[in-house]
Subunit: 116 residues, 2 copies
């Protein structure tokens, strides 16, 4: 049950969603931060810094700093892996779940309103 979308509809969808985010002065995440957040919430744990860095094709400091920023916003949390204390396990938070719920609702709504 794939989703059929035409190019012009894709552009309008992105514009509409982006516009609603900008106008609300909502939480303004970088594209990378958003991808990291989505990966944490969509893919099976455990998530580590090096795993995310490899998946995104970026360096580890990028992940660390993105987690710093999103941790400050309480969108994700970190704790040491007790089994291997070098690892950091990245975890979801209530606020992060809520944020993505609202975001997805906005996308669904915008998609439903696409006209042509």
């Amino acid at each position: 049950m794939s989703v059929r979308l035409r190019p012009i509809q894709a552009l309008r969808l992105w514009q509409e969603v982006g516009l609603s985010m900008v106008r609300r002065h909502a939480v303004d995440l970088t594209q990378r931060q958003m991808v990291i957040l989505l990966t944490i919430y969509l893919e099976p744990p455990p998530h580590t810094v090096r795993g995310l860095a490899a998946k995104l094709g970026v360096t580890k400091p990028v992940i660390t700093r993105a987690l710093d920023a999103m941790g400050e916003l309480d969108l994700v949390s970190r704790r040491r892996d007790p089994a291997d204390r070098r690892n950091v396990i990245i975890q979801r938070t209530v606020r992060g779940s809520l944020f993505l719920d609202e975001f997805s609702d906005r996308v669904v709504e915008a998609a439903g309103a696409l006209s042509p």
Copy 2:
């Protein structure tokens, strides 16, 4: 002919598209810049700085600087309005059209690949 999308599909779509952008080390536009670019290409001209600022609910310098950045990348161009030389008319470019064409293709492809 609206597009029916479930919340989980919306999140996966955003993740997939964002991931492909990040991995390609592609042009990295701010959310605001992307919205501005989409507005210029999707809505009927003429586009002015104040018009875009009002539509997005941001200050004019934000638009000016976004246009600076995207103009540097040759995604948009500016010229003075000959009728009222205070105005600046923002125009599309070949490179900007190409960029959005490729972007929309990526979105369409990701949407078609959504499984559940």
